[in-house]
């Protein structure tokens, strides 16, 4: 083979390589969801079952709840699957979804150093936050308009504590649950997390669960189809198929069967 042919063949190979995957006839929908559902591994467990049953590929874009809802507002997703009831109801009120459907819940836990300098251990989240504020112990906030962040701010408000980034012990990372946990682990600070993400998180350092079981820590997930009248291109049939499936008994059972470290992580509670 002379030089000319080698060059031609390698150029063709490069061009051919760059065009693979051009055609994709499979039905698909885009679901914007949260880092907690993706990073806990729930979708990896849940979606293959749905795909096998319906042949619809589900593409999940996992970001904070606030951003997931914004993606829905812009019509860049067909379905939104998040956990901030207040924000979701606002989404419906703005007309971007016709209705909000409850799917499952899990709970938040307060994570902190095993030594627990602020003595928060127990089952009262608001009391714990008060103690952290009094002790000025390092606290990591997600600060990213996520469902977890919104819940965290509600607990601070309920505890009667005003928090802001100007306080040196309150650190806003503006990131997803995992990166925030990494920061908390590195700084040995307190952080609010959902149980599922904590169970799958591997870089725990010296951290452990310090507060759990408070009924206020209940975390509800809701799913919404992006309104086709606002965004006509939304894949209404496939999106609705997804919603119908996750609230069906098969979908709910699949959610319940997802275990992390032997513990069930998400509890289905769609209304029958």
């Amino acid at each position: 083979m002379n030089r000319r042919n080698i060059l031609k063949i390698s150029a063709l190979a490069v061009l051919a390589f760059s065009t693979i995957g051009m055609s994709h006839a499979q039905k698909s929908i885009v679901v914007s969801s949260t880092t907690s559902t993706e990073q806990s591994g729930l979708f990896k467990h849940l979606l293959p079952v749905f795909e096998k049953k319906t042949g619809i590929q589900v593409k999940v874009v996992a970001v904070g709840t606030g951003q997931a809802l914004d993606i829905g507002r812009r019509g860049d997703a067909d379905v939104v699957f998040v956990h901030d009831k207040v924000a979701e109801e606002k989404f419906v009120a703005e007309g971007f979804a016709e209705k909000r459907i409850e799917v499952m819940y899990n709970d938040f836990v307060l994570i902190g150093p095993k030594a627990d300098p602020a003595k928060t251990k127990g089952n009262d989240i608001q009391a714990a936050l008060q103690k952290i504020s009094n002790a000025k112990s390092t606290f990591i906030s997600r600060g990213d308009k996520s469902g977890t962040h919104a819940a965290e701010l509600r607990y601070w408000k309920g505890a009667g504590v005003e928090v802001s980034a100007t306080q040196p012990w309150y650190k806003e990372t503006g990131s997803g649950m995992g990166p925030a946990l990494n920061t908390a682990s590195g700084m040995n600070g307190y952080i609010l997390s959902d149980r599922a993400t904590w169970l799958t998180f591997k870089n725990r350092g010296d951290l452990a669960i310090v507060v759990e079981g408070d009924p206020k820590l209940f975390n509800q997930y809701g799913v919404m189809l992006v309104n086709p009248s606002k965004h006509p291109h939304v894949k209404k049939a496939e999106g609705q198929a997804f919603i119908d499936w996750i609230i069906s008994s098969e979908g709910q059972q699949t959610i319940a069967s997802y275990k992390v470290e032997g513990q069930q992580s998400f509890f289905p509670n769609a209304k029958k």
Binding site: R3, V14, V60, V61, G75, F201
Partner: protein, 231 residues
């Protein structure tokens, strides 16, 4: 930290099919962006190098600045462009490899153009007078200069490839890091790090490094082979 490296090696040994998918997406997107950058950037850079036109200095400044534009800015810009509510929404390229290729092409094209311009300009300084004396048409001048500077230009291509394959900001925002569809090595590393799974992130990092090293090796082998054969 040593244990993380040890775990990383054992992970690589199993050669996960998921890992293979991620590598293929990365290569598909970055090589496509490289090809586009080469096809658009090289002629542009060469033309700016030898042709004098009003505003030439401004074009040079813009090209040089775009070389170092933060990738997240390109990501946000392309995201807004491709969003359904944006001007190119009808293309449906958001959260797909096509959108990622577009974003990375915006990164590679100015880089290759700027480097090409500098390299060709140096060549022009040497051969310019001769070519003008021979009254060669512009296409011939360009072809000849590109051929003459081919080894330096291969470095420009390598730089373009490196910029594309190692960036995370643009592909994360435009691609959405969707499992099996738009997850690249860099976005996978970011994801696994954020999950605290550092061994897997390191393993992916080593694969990425290996690919970049391989590309460099390939270029130097081709270069030495061609040099020996054709001088």
């Amino acid at each position: 930290m040593l244990s993380a490296f040890h775990d990383a090696f054992s992970l690589l040994e199993t050669l996960d099919s998921n890992l293979l998918e991620i590598v293929i997406v990365s290569l598909h997107v970055s090589i496509s962006a490289l090809v586009i950058g080469c096809v658009l950037g090289m002629p542009l850079g060469a033309l700016v190098a030898i042709q004098n036109f009003p505003g030439r200095q401004i074009v040079i400044v813009i090209l040089n600045s775009l070389m170092g534009v933060p990738t997240v800015i390109v990501g946000v810009a392309i995201y807004l462009l491709l969003s359904r509510t944006g001007p190119l929404g009808e293309l449906n390229w958001l959260f797909t490899p096509k959108g990622m290729i577009l974003a990375q092409s915006v990164l590679t094209t100015p880089l290759i153009a700027a480097l090409t311009r500098q390299i060709i300009e140096d060549g022009w300084r040497i051969h310019g007078e001769t070519m003008s004396a021979l009254r060669l048409p512009i296409a011939a001048k360009l072809k000849w200069l590109v051929w003459d500077c081919r080894f330096s230009l291969s470095i420009a291509l390598l730089a373009g490839f490196a910029r594309a394959i190692s960036e995370v900001g643009a592909v994360m925002i435009v691609g959405g890091n969707i499992d099996r569809v738009t997850r690249t090595m860099t976005t996978a590393i970011a994801l696994e790090t954020s999950k605290g799974d550092l061994p897997l992130a390191l393993a992916l990092g080593m694969v990425l490094l290996g690919i970049v090293l391989l590309a460099n090796l390939l270029t130097s082998v081709i270069k030495s082979f061609a040099e020996r054969r054709y001088g």
